[in-house]
Amino acid sequence: MASSVSLKIEFGGGLELLFANQRSHKLTLPALVPSDNSTAHSPPNLDPDTDSATSDDAPIADGWKRVDVTYLLHHLRDHLLKERPELFMDKETVRPGILVLINDTDWELEGEGEYVLKDGDEVVFISTLHGG
Protein backbone atom coordinates (compact mmCIF):
# COMPACT_ATOMS: atom_id res chain seq x y z
CA MET A 1 0.00 0.00 0.00
CA ALA A 2 1.41 3.36 -1.02
CA SER A 3 1.39 6.21 1.50
CA SER A 4 -1.02 8.30 -0.58
CA VAL A 5 -3.86 7.90 -3.07
CA SER A 6 -4.42 9.99 -6.20
CA LEU A 7 -8.03 10.76 -7.05
CA LYS A 8 -10.01 12.32 -9.83
CA ILE A 9 -12.90 14.43 -8.54
CA GLU A 10 -15.76 15.76 -10.68
CA PHE A 11 -18.65 18.07 -9.85
CA GLY A 12 -21.85 18.36 -11.86
CA GLY A 13 -25.44 19.52 -11.84
CA GLY A 14 -24.39 22.97 -10.63
CA LEU A 15 -22.19 21.83 -7.70
CA GLU A 16 -19.14 23.00 -9.65
CA LEU A 17 -20.31 26.56 -8.90
CA LEU A 18 -19.29 25.98 -5.27
CA PHE A 19 -15.81 24.86 -6.34
CA ALA A 20 -14.51 27.87 -8.27
CA ASN A 21 -16.68 26.78 -11.22
CA GLN A 22 -14.21 24.01 -12.00
CA ARG A 23 -15.73 20.62 -12.84
CA SER A 24 -12.59 18.46 -12.73
CA HIS A 25 -10.05 18.31 -9.94
CA LYS A 26 -7.01 16.10 -9.29
CA LEU A 27 -6.31 15.37 -5.67
CA THR A 28 -3.80 13.42 -3.61
CA LEU A 29 -4.74 12.35 -0.10
CA PRO A 30 -2.69 10.50 2.51
CA ALA A 31 -3.48 6.79 2.77
CA LEU A 32 -3.98 7.11 6.53
CA VAL A 33 -6.02 9.93 8.01
CA PRO A 34 -7.40 10.93 11.42
CA SER A 35 -10.48 8.93 12.43
CA ASP A 36 -12.23 12.14 13.41
CA ASN A 37 -11.89 13.43 9.82
CA SER A 38 -9.99 16.48 10.95
CA THR A 39 -8.08 17.66 7.90
CA ALA A 40 -5.64 19.99 9.65
CA HIS A 41 -3.19 17.28 10.76
CA SER A 42 -0.48 15.53 8.80
CA PRO A 43 -0.53 11.74 8.57
CA PRO A 44 1.56 9.78 11.08
CA ASN A 45 5.19 10.22 10.23
CA LEU A 46 6.20 6.97 8.65
CA ASP A 47 9.75 6.04 8.02
CA PRO A 48 10.19 4.88 4.40
CA ASP A 49 11.21 1.41 5.56
CA THR A 50 8.21 1.09 7.86
CA ASP A 51 5.98 1.44 4.82
CA SER A 52 4.83 -2.12 5.38
CA ALA A 53 3.04 -0.82 8.46
CA THR A 54 0.40 0.55 6.08
CA SER A 55 -0.09 -2.72 4.22
CA ASP A 56 -3.63 -4.01 4.12
CA ASP A 57 -3.45 -6.30 7.15
CA ALA A 58 -1.11 -4.20 9.24
CA PRO A 59 -2.60 -2.74 12.43
CA ILE A 60 -3.40 0.95 12.24
CA ALA A 61 -2.50 3.29 15.06
CA ASP A 62 -5.30 4.43 17.34
CA GLY A 63 -7.03 7.56 16.08
CA TRP A 64 -6.20 6.85 12.43
CA LYS A 65 -8.07 5.11 9.60
CA ARG A 66 -7.60 4.32 5.94
CA VAL A 67 -8.71 7.29 3.83
CA ASP A 68 -12.40 6.94 2.95
CA VAL A 69 -15.11 8.93 1.21
CA THR A 70 -16.22 10.60 4.47
CA TYR A 71 -12.71 11.97 4.91
CA LEU A 72 -12.75 13.10 1.27
CA LEU A 73 -15.98 15.05 1.94
CA HIS A 74 -14.31 16.84 4.83
CA HIS A 75 -11.20 17.53 2.81
CA LEU A 76 -13.25 18.99 -0.07
CA ARG A 77 -15.27 21.14 2.30
CA ASP A 78 -12.25 22.38 4.26
CA HIS A 79 -9.81 22.91 1.39
CA LEU A 80 -11.53 23.15 -1.99
CA LEU A 81 -14.94 24.65 -1.32
CA LYS A 82 -15.09 28.36 -2.07
CA GLU A 83 -18.42 29.27 -0.49
CA ARG A 84 -21.49 28.18 1.50
CA PRO A 85 -20.49 24.76 2.89
CA GLU A 86 -24.15 24.02 3.75
CA LEU A 87 -24.82 23.68 0.02
CA PHE A 88 -22.36 20.75 -0.05
CA MET A 89 -22.44 19.02 3.33
CA ASP A 90 -25.08 18.38 5.95
CA LYS A 91 -23.61 17.00 9.20
CA GLU A 92 -21.17 14.21 8.26
CA THR A 93 -22.51 13.48 4.77
CA VAL A 94 -23.54 15.24 1.55
CA ARG A 95 -26.62 17.44 1.71
CA PRO A 96 -29.94 16.08 0.41
CA GLY A 97 -30.15 16.08 -3.39
CA ILE A 98 -26.51 15.19 -4.03
CA LEU A 99 -25.60 11.79 -5.48
CA VAL A 100 -22.07 10.44 -4.98
CA LEU A 101 -20.66 8.18 -7.68
CA ILE A 102 -17.54 6.07 -7.24
CA ASN A 103 -16.12 4.91 -10.56
CA ASP A 104 -19.53 5.37 -12.22
CA THR A 105 -21.33 3.44 -9.47
CA ASP A 106 -23.80 4.84 -6.92
CA TRP A 107 -21.85 5.07 -3.65
CA GLU A 108 -24.68 3.27 -1.86
CA LEU A 109 -23.47 0.06 -3.57
CA GLU A 110 -19.89 0.70 -2.41
CA GLY A 111 -20.42 1.35 1.30
CA GLU A 112 -21.14 5.09 1.10
CA GLY A 113 -18.83 7.14 3.33
CA GLU A 114 -16.99 4.06 4.56
CA TYR A 115 -15.69 3.16 1.11
CA VAL A 116 -11.89 3.03 1.32
CA LEU A 117 -10.41 5.04 -1.54
CA LYS A 118 -7.99 3.36 -3.92
CA ASP A 119 -5.34 4.99 -6.05
CA GLY A 120 -6.87 6.13 -9.36
CA ASP A 121 -10.50 6.20 -8.13
CA GLU A 122 -12.82 8.71 -9.71
CA VAL A 123 -15.45 10.26 -7.42
CA VAL A 124 -18.27 12.32 -8.92
CA PHE A 125 -20.60 14.60 -6.96
CA ILE A 126 -23.74 15.42 -8.85
CA SER A 127 -26.65 17.57 -7.82
CA THR A 128 -30.00 16.27 -8.97
CA LEU A 129 -31.67 18.58 -11.49
CA HIS A 130 -35.31 19.61 -11.33
CA GLY A 131 -35.76 21.75 -14.44
CA GLY A 132 -37.44 20.68 -17.65
Binding site: G14, R95, D104, L109, T128, L129, H130, G131, G132
Partner: protein, 279 residues
Amino acid sequence: MLPLEDYRRYGRQMILEGFGLPGQVKLKEASVAVVGAGGLGCPALQYLAASGIGRIGVIDHDVVELSNLHRQILHTEATIGMPKALSAAKAMAAINPQLKVDAVVQALSSANATELLGLYDIILDCTDNAPTRYLLSDVAVTLGKPLVSGAAQRFEGQICIYNYGENGPCYRCLFPKPPAQETVGTCEETGILGAVTGVIGNLQALETIKIIVGLKDQAPSLLLFNALQTPPFRSIKLRNRKPACAACGLGAKTQGMIDATDYVQFCGGPPANWVERGL
Protein backbone atom coordinates in the same frame (compact mmCIF):
# COMPACT_ATOMS: atom_id res chain seq x y z
CA MET B 1 -54.17 -7.24 -36.07
CA LEU B 2 -53.16 -3.90 -37.64
CA PRO B 3 -54.88 -1.95 -40.42
CA LEU B 4 -53.05 -2.33 -43.73
CA GLU B 5 -52.10 1.35 -43.68
CA ASP B 6 -50.18 0.83 -40.44
CA TYR B 7 -47.85 -1.63 -42.17
CA ARG B 8 -46.90 1.15 -44.54
CA ARG B 9 -46.73 3.82 -41.87
CA TYR B 10 -44.69 1.86 -39.33
CA GLY B 11 -42.93 -0.54 -41.71
CA ARG B 12 -39.44 0.88 -41.08
CA GLN B 13 -39.61 0.06 -37.40
CA MET B 14 -41.60 -3.16 -37.81
CA ILE B 15 -38.73 -4.72 -39.79
CA LEU B 16 -36.38 -4.17 -36.86
CA GLU B 17 -35.15 -7.29 -35.14
CA GLY B 18 -36.82 -7.65 -31.74
CA PHE B 19 -39.60 -5.26 -32.75
CA GLY B 20 -41.74 -6.60 -35.59
CA LEU B 21 -45.51 -6.84 -35.70
CA PRO B 22 -45.74 -7.80 -31.99
CA GLY B 23 -43.85 -4.65 -31.04
CA GLN B 24 -46.12 -2.44 -33.12
CA VAL B 25 -49.24 -4.07 -31.66
CA LYS B 26 -47.89 -3.52 -28.14
CA LEU B 27 -47.41 0.17 -28.93
CA LYS B 28 -50.94 0.46 -30.30
CA GLU B 29 -52.36 -1.12 -27.16
CA ALA B 30 -50.25 0.99 -24.81
CA SER B 31 -51.17 4.20 -23.04
CA VAL B 32 -48.70 6.74 -21.68
CA ALA B 33 -49.11 9.78 -19.43
CA VAL B 34 -46.75 12.71 -20.04
CA VAL B 35 -46.73 15.16 -17.16
CA GLY B 36 -45.48 18.51 -18.42
CA ALA B 37 -45.66 19.73 -22.02
CA GLY B 38 -42.61 21.97 -21.82
CA GLY B 39 -38.98 21.55 -22.83
CA LEU B 40 -38.87 17.83 -22.06
CA GLY B 41 -42.51 17.02 -22.77
CA CYS B 42 -42.58 18.43 -26.31
CA PRO B 43 -39.88 16.16 -27.82
CA ALA B 44 -41.09 13.18 -25.78
CA LEU B 45 -44.69 13.68 -26.94
CA GLN B 46 -43.66 14.14 -30.53
CA TYR B 47 -41.71 10.86 -30.81
CA LEU B 48 -44.28 8.93 -28.77
CA ALA B 49 -47.05 10.23 -31.03
CA ALA B 50 -45.17 9.36 -34.22
CA SER B 51 -44.26 5.85 -32.99
CA GLY B 52 -47.83 4.52 -33.04
CA ILE B 53 -48.64 4.45 -29.32
CA GLY B 54 -52.41 4.12 -28.92
CA ARG B 55 -53.23 6.68 -26.24
CA ILE B 56 -51.31 9.58 -24.74
CA GLY B 57 -52.41 11.73 -21.83
CA VAL B 58 -50.73 15.13 -21.65
CA ILE B 59 -51.09 16.91 -18.34
CA ASP B 60 -50.12 20.57 -17.95
CA HIS B 61 -51.93 23.61 -16.59
CA ASP B 62 -49.50 26.27 -17.87
CA VAL B 63 -50.14 28.37 -20.93
CA VAL B 64 -47.72 28.88 -23.82
CA GLU B 65 -45.49 31.94 -23.50
CA LEU B 66 -43.07 33.55 -25.93
CA SER B 67 -40.14 32.62 -23.66
CA ASN B 68 -41.00 28.92 -24.11
CA LEU B 69 -40.61 28.85 -27.87
CA HIS B 70 -36.81 28.57 -28.02
CA ARG B 71 -37.10 25.02 -26.71
CA GLN B 72 -40.75 23.86 -26.50
CA ILE B 73 -40.95 22.90 -30.14
CA LEU B 74 -44.60 21.74 -30.29
CA HIS B 75 -45.82 25.22 -29.42
CA THR B 76 -45.85 28.10 -31.91
CA GLU B 77 -46.46 31.81 -31.96
CA ALA B 78 -50.02 30.98 -32.96
CA THR B 79 -50.63 29.05 -29.72
CA ILE B 80 -49.21 31.66 -27.33
CA GLY B 81 -51.75 32.04 -24.53
CA MET B 82 -53.28 28.60 -25.13
CA PRO B 83 -52.89 25.92 -22.42
CA LYS B 84 -49.80 23.87 -23.24
CA ALA B 85 -51.77 20.61 -23.01
CA LEU B 86 -54.11 21.80 -25.78
CA SER B 87 -51.35 23.25 -27.92
CA ALA B 88 -49.42 19.97 -27.68
CA ALA B 89 -52.54 17.92 -28.41
CA LYS B 90 -53.10 19.95 -31.56
CA ALA B 91 -49.53 19.35 -32.73
CA MET B 92 -49.81 15.62 -32.03
CA ALA B 93 -53.06 15.36 -33.97
CA ALA B 94 -51.23 16.75 -37.01
CA ILE B 95 -48.41 14.21 -36.64
CA ASN B 96 -50.69 11.23 -36.09
CA PRO B 97 -54.47 11.60 -36.45
CA GLN B 98 -55.03 8.00 -35.31
CA LEU B 99 -53.59 8.72 -31.87
CA LYS B 100 -56.04 9.21 -29.00
CA VAL B 101 -54.94 12.25 -26.98
CA ASP B 102 -56.28 13.21 -23.56
CA ALA B 103 -55.37 16.84 -22.93
CA VAL B 104 -55.63 17.55 -19.20
CA VAL B 105 -55.44 21.24 -18.27
CA GLN B 106 -55.06 20.69 -14.55
CA ALA B 107 -52.34 21.07 -11.97
CA LEU B 108 -51.35 17.67 -10.62
CA SER B 109 -51.84 17.37 -6.85
CA SER B 110 -52.13 14.82 -4.06
CA ALA B 111 -55.87 14.98 -4.58
CA ASN B 112 -56.07 14.07 -8.27
CA ALA B 113 -52.77 12.43 -9.28
CA THR B 114 -53.51 8.79 -8.44
CA GLU B 115 -56.83 8.83 -10.25
CA LEU B 116 -55.57 10.76 -13.29
CA LEU B 117 -52.43 8.69 -13.79
CA GLY B 118 -54.12 5.38 -13.02
CA LEU B 119 -55.49 5.38 -16.57
CA TYR B 120 -52.06 4.88 -18.18
CA ASP B 121 -49.43 2.14 -18.38
CA ILE B 122 -46.33 4.30 -18.04
CA ILE B 123 -45.73 7.78 -16.62
CA LEU B 124 -43.22 10.31 -17.96
CA ASP B 125 -41.94 12.96 -15.58
CA CYS B 126 -41.31 15.99 -17.78
CA THR B 127 -41.93 18.50 -15.00
CA ASP B 128 -39.80 21.34 -13.74
CA ASN B 129 -40.02 21.30 -9.95
CA ALA B 130 -39.12 19.16 -6.94
CA PRO B 131 -42.59 18.84 -5.33
CA THR B 132 -44.16 17.36 -8.46
CA ARG B 133 -41.19 15.00 -8.86
CA TYR B 134 -41.77 13.56 -5.36
CA LEU B 135 -45.52 13.38 -5.95
CA LEU B 136 -45.09 11.57 -9.28
CA SER B 137 -42.69 9.06 -7.77
CA ASP B 138 -45.03 8.27 -4.88
CA VAL B 139 -47.98 7.88 -7.25
CA ALA B 140 -45.98 5.63 -9.59
CA VAL B 141 -45.19 3.43 -6.57
CA THR B 142 -48.85 3.27 -5.50
CA LEU B 143 -49.94 2.40 -9.01
CA GLY B 144 -47.04 -0.02 -9.62
CA LYS B 145 -46.06 1.72 -12.85
CA PRO B 146 -42.67 2.70 -14.25
CA LEU B 147 -41.75 6.40 -14.13
CA VAL B 148 -39.49 7.64 -16.94
CA SER B 149 -38.00 10.73 -15.40
CA GLY B 150 -36.07 13.47 -17.22
CA ALA B 151 -34.56 16.72 -15.99
CA ALA B 152 -32.51 19.47 -17.60
CA GLN B 153 -30.90 22.74 -16.54
CA ARG B 154 -28.22 24.91 -18.11
CA PHE B 155 -26.15 22.63 -20.37
CA GLU B 156 -26.93 19.47 -18.40
CA GLY B 157 -29.52 16.72 -18.36
CA GLN B 158 -30.35 13.55 -16.44
CA ILE B 159 -32.60 10.60 -17.24
CA CYS B 160 -33.59 7.74 -14.96
CA ILE B 161 -36.36 5.14 -14.86
CA TYR B 162 -37.83 4.78 -11.37
CA ASN B 163 -39.97 2.01 -9.93
CA TYR B 164 -39.17 -0.31 -12.83
CA GLY B 165 -38.72 -4.06 -12.69
CA GLU B 166 -38.15 -6.34 -9.71
CA ASN B 167 -35.65 -4.20 -7.86
CA GLY B 168 -35.75 -0.75 -9.39
CA PRO B 169 -35.55 2.12 -6.88
CA CYS B 170 -38.06 4.95 -6.63
CA TYR B 171 -37.10 8.62 -6.50
CA ARG B 172 -37.22 8.53 -2.69
CA CYS B 173 -34.84 5.56 -2.56
CA LEU B 174 -32.24 7.87 -4.10
CA PHE B 175 -33.32 11.11 -2.49
CA PRO B 176 -35.17 10.36 0.77
CA LYS B 177 -34.99 14.00 1.89
CA PRO B 178 -35.85 16.89 -0.44
CA PRO B 179 -33.08 19.39 -1.10
CA ALA B 180 -33.23 22.75 0.63
CA GLN B 181 -35.04 25.43 -1.33
CA GLU B 182 -31.94 27.52 -2.02
CA THR B 183 -30.15 24.62 -3.73
CA VAL B 184 -32.88 24.17 -6.32
CA GLY B 185 -32.75 26.34 -9.40
CA THR B 186 -35.38 26.47 -12.12
CA CYS B 187 -34.94 26.93 -15.87
CA GLU B 188 -36.22 30.48 -15.37
CA GLU B 189 -33.40 31.26 -12.96
CA THR B 190 -30.50 29.18 -14.25
CA GLY B 191 -31.23 29.12 -17.97
CA ILE B 192 -31.48 26.18 -20.33
CA LEU B 193 -30.21 25.39 -23.79
CA GLY B 194 -33.18 24.18 -25.86
CA ALA B 195 -31.43 21.34 -27.63
CA VAL B 196 -30.44 19.88 -24.23
CA THR B 197 -34.09 19.43 -23.23
CA GLY B 198 -34.56 17.99 -26.73
CA VAL B 199 -31.96 15.28 -26.19
CA ILE B 200 -33.33 14.29 -22.77
CA GLY B 201 -37.02 14.38 -23.81
CA ASN B 202 -36.21 12.38 -26.90
CA LEU B 203 -34.39 9.77 -24.80
CA GLN B 204 -37.43 9.62 -22.49
CA ALA B 205 -39.61 8.72 -25.50
CA LEU B 206 -37.04 6.12 -26.58
CA GLU B 207 -36.88 4.48 -23.14
CA THR B 208 -40.68 4.43 -22.94
CA ILE B 209 -40.91 2.70 -26.33
CA LYS B 210 -38.27 0.18 -25.22
CA ILE B 211 -40.25 -0.61 -22.04
CA ILE B 212 -43.49 -1.10 -24.00
CA VAL B 213 -41.91 -3.28 -26.69
CA GLY B 214 -39.93 -5.33 -24.15
CA LEU B 215 -36.44 -4.19 -25.15
CA LYS B 216 -35.50 -2.53 -21.84
CA ASP B 217 -33.30 -4.34 -19.34
CA GLN B 218 -34.05 -3.95 -15.65
CA ALA B 219 -30.67 -2.96 -14.21
CA PRO B 220 -31.17 0.38 -12.41
CA SER B 221 -29.14 3.10 -14.09
CA LEU B 222 -28.89 6.85 -14.47
CA LEU B 223 -27.71 8.62 -17.59
CA LEU B 224 -25.94 11.97 -17.15
CA PHE B 225 -25.51 14.41 -20.01
CA ASN B 226 -23.41 17.54 -20.20
CA ALA B 227 -23.38 19.27 -23.57
CA LEU B 228 -20.03 20.94 -22.84
CA GLN B 229 -18.10 17.92 -21.58
CA THR B 230 -16.08 15.24 -23.36
CA PRO B 231 -17.40 12.59 -23.18
CA PRO B 232 -20.87 14.19 -23.01
CA PHE B 233 -22.66 11.12 -21.61
CA ARG B 234 -21.97 9.07 -18.50
CA SER B 235 -23.90 5.95 -17.41
CA ILE B 236 -24.18 5.23 -13.71
CA LYS B 237 -25.02 1.94 -12.00
CA LEU B 238 -27.67 2.68 -9.36
CA ARG B 239 -28.72 1.10 -6.07
CA ASN B 240 -31.69 -1.27 -5.89
CA ARG B 241 -35.01 -0.50 -4.22
CA LYS B 242 -34.37 0.16 -0.51
CA PRO B 243 -36.32 -1.92 2.01
CA ALA B 244 -36.40 1.09 4.34
CA CYS B 245 -37.78 3.50 1.72
CA ALA B 246 -40.73 5.56 3.00
CA ALA B 247 -42.52 5.15 -0.34
CA CYS B 248 -41.64 1.76 -1.85
CA GLY B 249 -40.08 -0.03 1.14
CA LEU B 250 -41.46 -2.90 3.19
CA GLY B 251 -44.74 -1.96 4.86
CA ALA B 252 -44.84 1.52 3.38
CA LYS B 253 -48.35 3.03 3.24
CA THR B 254 -47.75 5.01 0.11
CA GLN B 255 -51.28 6.14 -0.76
CA GLY B 256 -51.79 7.27 2.82
CA MET B 257 -48.59 9.25 2.62
CA ILE B 258 -49.68 10.86 -0.66
CA ASP B 259 -53.02 11.89 0.84
CA ALA B 260 -51.32 13.35 3.92
CA THR B 261 -48.47 15.19 2.21
CA ASP B 262 -48.38 18.79 1.13
CA TYR B 263 -45.60 18.32 -1.42
CA VAL B 264 -44.84 22.00 -1.77
CA GLN B 265 -44.39 22.36 1.99
CA PHE B 266 -42.42 19.08 2.07
CA CYS B 267 -39.96 20.68 -0.36
CA GLY B 268 -39.60 23.80 1.77
CA GLY B 269 -42.61 25.83 0.72
CA PRO B 270 -43.17 27.85 -2.44
CA PRO B 271 -40.16 29.87 -3.57
CA ALA B 272 -40.70 33.57 -4.09
CA ASN B 273 -41.10 33.32 -7.83
CA TRP B 274 -43.76 30.59 -7.51
CA VAL B 275 -45.88 32.99 -5.55
CA GLU B 276 -45.42 35.54 -8.31
CA ARG B 277 -46.44 32.92 -10.85
CA GLY B 278 -49.58 32.18 -8.85
CA LEU B 279 -48.81 28.53 -8.09
